[in-house]
Symmetry: D2
Subunit: 295 residues, 4 copies
């Protein structure tokens, strides 16, 4: 296929590489020239704007840092909608607020372009390995039409309902994830402070009602899970500042629909505190250190 | 075996019945006469005090509501330690604070009696079906010696380390459980408020990093899990007031060892609020209603 | 003076009336025709747009519900900046986020118009009585030039520093107010639950280190302060939904500058919960009922 | 008068000195010999036990660290009630839970001894200067009878109602104080982060609805109040660990009467976190540093 890929950062670059490997022709755009060069050296074609990239392609994929970037890339005079041919499907894999996702989808629809929001989970590791999970908000028809291409970048392609619901699924999952990790951190710290061995406690929890991904797969207590960030000083993984961004999206979306999210709001503040105390670039499971004695 | 069983309430009674069915001779005690009658009508022998019950038995099991009851039943003039023969093993299945559990175990040890704390999870349903999980704090020798009898009342007998660690495991697991349930409640409510279908959202979460027992087995949103309390108006299950008791034990234990449990303390307050608003006897997953619009 | 007044709602209308009474010539605009009529019947002149209202006046005052309205009224093609003569001072008394306030001030400055943000406290009662407090963000020169007019609508005109700082002062004060009120609510409820008389407890607090406006002037416990909303079933006063709006502004501003506001975020959620349970239009001190037993 | 004074620590010692200065005959007891020596060198008479101290005196005053100490000093075989003559009034100035205060008062009453709980505020400075506030729980008769002596150690003697209510007033006030200080810390930090000068912000707050003792008298932002601990690196004042103790009493008392104290519970956790990060002995207003960027 002839695909436009816009946004070639930590996530976008390996995703684009996987599409090149799968044999697609890629026209790429990024505001950082070195990002573009890294792709053109592998056969991608550089475009001078999102508008130019989108012209004469059969599918447009974007992977951008935040809502304002998405608005700019799709809706500005030099944007995708200004260049793309009617009927071409648009896929935004950025993690942004559902409201913006829906607004852009409506604008695309008016121009005759089907659009899906398809944020991912799995991190840079999953992007490189092609094992991402895509949470897709779109009609069944759009979902079916893009699934094969998404499957070349990920292994779990989930239909979440209409436009915007990919974003909803993503922020709701990560809201829960941020809370669960804090819960595991508190439970592990408390158990150890009360005299229990961390591995034994994790073993009990993982076969009981406290069982969760944050405990059995990504336990924040060092030494419990061999391959978890906690066992390598919280390097790699999913950064505290990224969790903070997603909790910001979740609490903001909650505010707009007047939904109470008490633990979510508190979790946001605690990751903010952890970031301010220096853990912004460490894995988010380092939140456990916020509760440690440091003197 | 010749077993003393003290405390014949909602949990103790079915546990004692299972021991009778297994062929043991039971000497029982409870302060409520009708509780005693319900067991003697099935062949148990009534005793007039914990001291009397413990005399001439080979094993003592207790199932009591709170720490003061445990102190009273073991340490008073009419208590177990005043009547039991040296060498007889004592098993307390009450859920109490680890500090008290350890104090009573030390007192038992001084009298020459091995002691284990063995709180359970699984609720009255598990007690009746004999499928409880026992979290046992004791030496390996004591654990090995009582495991066969516990296995007649439960199917998962877990060794958690030395005396008191059964209680530690129980309160740490339930601390995490109380937090996870709140996290799922917030995530499900938010997703639905943002336009997603509850079952679809749960499906995404259950295959993602938000996966947890509170979502995949006991989801608080009505209709998501057929057999969960949420699908029968939160009747049955594990009551809000019981969760509140366990969170009280967890936060109190945290205070004593100067361990921060921020979400745990907030969770305790929210279940307290839910209880004050009338949900004390409903399943604890009814906490989801605290965040619903009621006007 | 020849003044344009834009935004004639619950707050703007009485403020405009006070300017009319003071003898000014008023050109007014509002999107709701009845709001306009209520002023023109007292001598104000109706304009067809913010642009038209601002033309040929010596001072522009706006009182609008939220940031998007402020952007629209000042920056759109029909907006104030499109019609106002260079050199005319602009005063926005809306409560909005400091970021927007500063952006609009910068845009005004580029057009040659001095601008001040001047949000108020004192509610509709203070607006009618002309006893509002104005928190003004502007240079000393601008502040001095507008102070006489503001003094015709309020009695406390405070200079808070440069553009935007009026908003900062407002949201920081109300952040603290929202927290203090919750603190008083919890302390009063607890004291009464522990057997103390509410008036006696308030008396102790008001002469001790817990002393605060929420306790000594606006106590949320019924019967403690004769004229407080608590003594008239929380009618009148400063509505829960208005406090919720201000806490939303404060937590959002905190997010943008990466400042932790833990109690602020929790307070926002609790007022949200109170609003969802039906108290949105009641005075915000009705938050005390969130902690009452209702069954 | 012939007075027994038991408990001669940081608070008790200066209080006892003030009674000596007022001309009373003092019989003193403390478990630390150097504490006793410091008083006997000024004319007090040492006793060998609380029982011995209480014998042959006309009034007993105690100042002890916690509830277990109070139980021990009053109720043990060597305790006050074992030695004191019927009719002698007992005054406990310790800060403890209201439940224990009431239990000990009942025990004293049964022995024929009127008893008052009279916890203080004002810190070691107030104890030395004789300017403490006493919050007294007792009948009017008892209150009137002890007021003259208390007035020799303090300047504000407040009657809070029946036995236990002195403790209730103390913990409710300090619950609110702990919350208010956090609110001021968040508001000040936010205002400064948003570009406002700290003194100007405090000035606005102190004349607005955010006004409180924590802002106008004890502001946690350095440089705002000349004599506040914040202006001397948080030395002196009321230590974080003492605030933590009082919040522990308040949340525990709330649990017993099933009263929700959401911000109170969160405040306790935040002071716990601050203590664990090294600020336990610093003034409690140093909580503001918990929210500062440290990297």
């Amino acid at each position: 296929m002839n695909i436009a890929f816009i946004g070639l950062g930590n996530m976008g670059a390996p995703m684009a590489h996987n599409l090149l490997k799968a044999g697609h022709r890629l026209v790429v755009f990024d505001v950082v020239q070195t990002h573009v060069d890294a792709l053109t050296s592998h056969g991608a074609i550089a475009a001078t704007s999102p508008k130019a990239a989108a012209a004469a392609t059969e599918l447009v994929i974007t992977m951008l840092p935040s809502s304002p970037h998405v608005r700019e890339v799709y809706l500005s005079d030099d944007g995708v909608l200004a260049g793309v041919a009617p009927g071409v499907t648009l896929v935004d894999s950025s993690t942004i607020d559902p409201h913006t996702a829906r607004e852009v989808a409506v604008a695309a629809h008016k121009k005759g372009n089907p659009m899906a929001d398809a944020p991912v989970s799995g991190g840079t590791g999953g992007a490189q390995a092609g094992t991402l999970t895509f949470m897709v908000g779109a009609t069944v028809e759009i979902f079916d039409s893009i699934k094969p291409v998404l499957a070349q970048m990920g292994k779990n392609i989930v239909h979440c309902g209409a436009a915007g619901n990919g974003q909803v699924a993503k922020i709701c999952n990560n809201l829960l994830l941020g809370i669960s990790m804090l819960g595991v951190a508190e439970a592990m710290n408390l158990g150890v402070a009360l005299g229990m061995e961390a591995r034994v406690l994790a073993g009990v929890i993982n076969t009981s009602s406290g069982r969760c991904w944050s405990s059995d797969t990504y336990n924040p207590y060092p030494g419990v899970i061999e391959n978890a960030p906690a066992s390598r000083d919280y390097s790699g993984g999913f950064g505290t500042d990224l969790m903070l961004k997603d909790l910001g999206l979740a609490t903001e979306a909650a505010k707009q629909v007047k939904q109470t999210v008490v633990l979510g709001a508190l979790a946001q503040q605690l990751y903010q505190m952890s970031s301010a105390q220096g853990a912004g670039l460490k894995d988010f499971s380092s939140i456990i250190n916020l509760f440690r004695k440091t003197s």
